[in-house]
């Protein structure tokens, strides 16, 4: 157990920054937001650990400008893309050497694979898919809050003894950190030790998905619920989304019925979105759906049931038949936007 065998205290907050093709992605900036808040509460440093090969200086510098005090980049050609064995071996080595007290990663395909593997290797506790993180004042323990039992409850979990306290954080559950002028920090570039790089899994190919706009990147999401009644009616939702430069999302019922594909699903078992604007059309607002969109900046709902749950989180609620309402909004939007140029 990494429980102070040499009496060396664990300190500092760490995040795992992820890179694809050498570029640091959005999740890393979301983790900076989370990590910075925790480090400030603990009055300690924030370190970003990143694995890859020839990561550009600019990208590492950007992590500092956005909140990190130190970057530790471990590099080798074998670390170009994620492979669990070498990534875990390198991470374990860094953790053993630097002894952070907290390690956060995104709940991404990488984070959700590396972190549980690593947690076993270093005998640490790990909490999956956290949506909130805080520090317990009396003990300085990390408080990790996550949805459980199909989103019906939230559970707060802590790791009293084992270090580091590890958590994966749900993508898009917070804003990415913004650059701040004048921030400085240290960049440590390390060559990965060759004995840590063997892997029994090889990546032999990659096929990028040809999907349209990612609902997680869109500033506006118009979400279709079962109230739209037929798959054909997605066209009406798409038209509205197009006018707003937005993407089309769907509730699980809509995906289960085959009206839209799974990548569009918003909610607990789909994606979390935090757009500037979410419009729910014929969505009831189940707790599992809200788990994926409740933190949108602005929420508008259209539903013919005045008691629909969605109205509890919407700012503006239109009570009526969506088939009558949506075309009028679409028409007025066209007029309004053509006037604006």
């Amino acid at each position: 157990m990494t429980q102070d065998p040499n009496n060396k205290k664990h300190s500092g907050v760490w995040i795992l920054a992820e890179q694809t093709n050498g570029r640091i992605g959005r999740i890393s900036h979301e983790l900076l937001t989370r990590g910075r808040a925790l480090a400030d509460k603990l009055q300690t440093d924030l370190t970003a650990m990143v694995f890859g090969c020839d990561i550009p200086d600019d990208d590492l510098q950007d992590l500092i400008v956005c909140g990190a005090d130190r970057i530790i980049a471990m590099e080798a050609p074998e670390l170009t893309t994620f492979l669990v064995e070498p990534y875990a071996a390198c991470a374990a080595k860094l953790i053993d050497e630097y002894r952070p007290e907290i390690l956060l990663a995104g709940a991404t395909s990488t984070g959700r694979t590396l972190m549980p593997y690593l947690a076993i290797k270093i005998h640490a506790g790990l909490t999956a898919d956290c949506t909130e993180l805080d520090i317990e004042p009396e003990t300085n323990n990390l408080l990790q809050t996550r949805p459980a039992i199909g989103g019906n409850i939230l559970a707060t979990i802590k790791t009293p003894v084992h270090r580091p306290q590890m958590a994966t954080v749900r993508p898009h559950s917070t804003r990415p950190a913004e650059p701040k002028d004048g921030r400085t920090g240290e960049i440590v570039r390390l060559e990965a030790p060759s004995e840590l790089l063997s892997s029994r899994v090889k990546r032999v190919g990659f096929t990028p998905s040809s999907d349209e706009m990612n609902i997680q990147d869109a500033e506006t999401v118009v979400c279709a619920g079962r109230g739209i009644k037929r798959g054909d009616n997605i066209a009406m939702i798409s038209e509205l989304a197009d006018l707003l430069d937005g993407a089309v999302g769907a509730s699980r019922d809509v995906v289960d019925r085959g009206w839209m594909s799974y990548p569009h699903q918003i909610g607990l078992s789909g994606k979390t979105v935090t757009p500037k604007l979410y419009i729910g059309v014929g969505v009831s607002g189940s707790i599992q759906h809200i788990a994926g969109m409740g933190t949108s900046d602005h929420i508008i709902a259209i539903n013919n049931d005045p008691d629909a749950q969605i109205f509890h989180i919407a700012e503006l609620g239109l009570i009526g038949d969506l088939f009558e309402i949506v075309p009028v909004i679409t028409k007025k939007l066209k007029e309004a936007t053509s006037k604006n140029g």
Partner: protein
């Protein structure tokens, strides 16, 4: 080859009701089922076995209360060759660290394993951590989010792995572990013959005594994480509700939407 499929018995979450007064789960009458995502793991394991047709076997493994025997029975009625139930009071309250630890010990006892196939995640705990955890304890490579798997008699397994930006093609040496997504297969239904077999077959029950495990690594004691609080998600915003039942009201409401979007600088 020998394929082990760890499956979990879970409450049927879609049937879970919350008591709005107390904020607790109403468990009465909630049925225990095999974690729906584990059915895909069972199915793909059976397909690999049948494709190879060389005496390969599939073994279902579950850790849970005595009643979890039913989950093994269900796997056997789908066509799994045999099953093991790991059950012991000392295991109660295990988090994913301790669960992976015990399942890895059970897989070691089963012995001579080539492939471990897990579900992507369990619908109750919903962590997806146990598959990679088992692999780490057994020092096996793990490939997660697998949507396609081929295991030729010679050479490495070929895998498709779903990631955010697309699909990776992987080659993996055995023995190894995978977690699979729904796209990998369509689970078959139990057969009548399978059901009969599941009633007759002997399902060994292993307690902590039967496994090579350290007592302090079991159950709540062996779990690094602790649940400190459980509460209901709070959702509430002040909603400006507009009736939009007739043509006139719809016009007014739609105008309000445009005004709202303009004020918020969304158009």
């Amino acid at each position: 080859m020998k394929i082990v499929v760890p499956i979990k018995q879970v409450p049927e979450t879609s049937a879970v009701k919350m008591d709005p007064e107390t904020g607790t789960m109403v468990r009465d009458g909630v049925e225990a089922i095999v974690n729906p995502l584990d059915l895909y793991a069972i199915e793909v394991a059976l397909e690999i076995r049948d494709e190879r047709d060389d005496g390969s076997e599939v073994i279902a493994l579950t850790m849970g209360p005595p009643a979890a025997r039913k989950a093994i029975g269900e796997a056997i009625s789908m066509g799994v060759d045999s099953g093991v139930l790991v059950s012991d009071r000392a295991l109660a309250g295990a988090d994913t660290w301790s669960t992976s630890y015990v399942l890895a010990a059970a897989i070691r006892k089963i012995g001579d394993y080539d492939l471990i196939v897990c579900g992507e995640r369990a619908t109750d705990g919903d962590t997806g951590q146990v598959g990679p955890g088992i692999a780490a304890f057994l020092d096996l490579p793990i490939a997660t989010y697998i949507s396609k798997i081929q295991c030729p008699a010679d050479g490495p397994c070929l895998l498709d792995r779903l990631v955010e930006e697309g699909t990776e093609q992987l080659e993996m040496e055995l023995p190894a572990a995978v977690t699979v997504v729904k796209a990998i297969a369509s689970p078959r239904l139990p057969t009548l013959r399978g059901k009969q077999r599941s009633r007759k077959i002997d399902i060994p029950v292993w307690g902590a005594e039967e496994l090579d495990v350290e007592k302090e690594c079991l159950g709540l004691t062996g779990s690094p994480t602790r649940v400190v609080k459980i509460f209901r998600p709070q959702v509430a915003r002040e909603c400006e509700k507009m009736p939009a039942g007739d043509t006139e009201a719809i016009e007014t409401a739609a105008d309000r939407v445009i005004e709202f979007l303009t004020d918020a600088e969304l158009i």
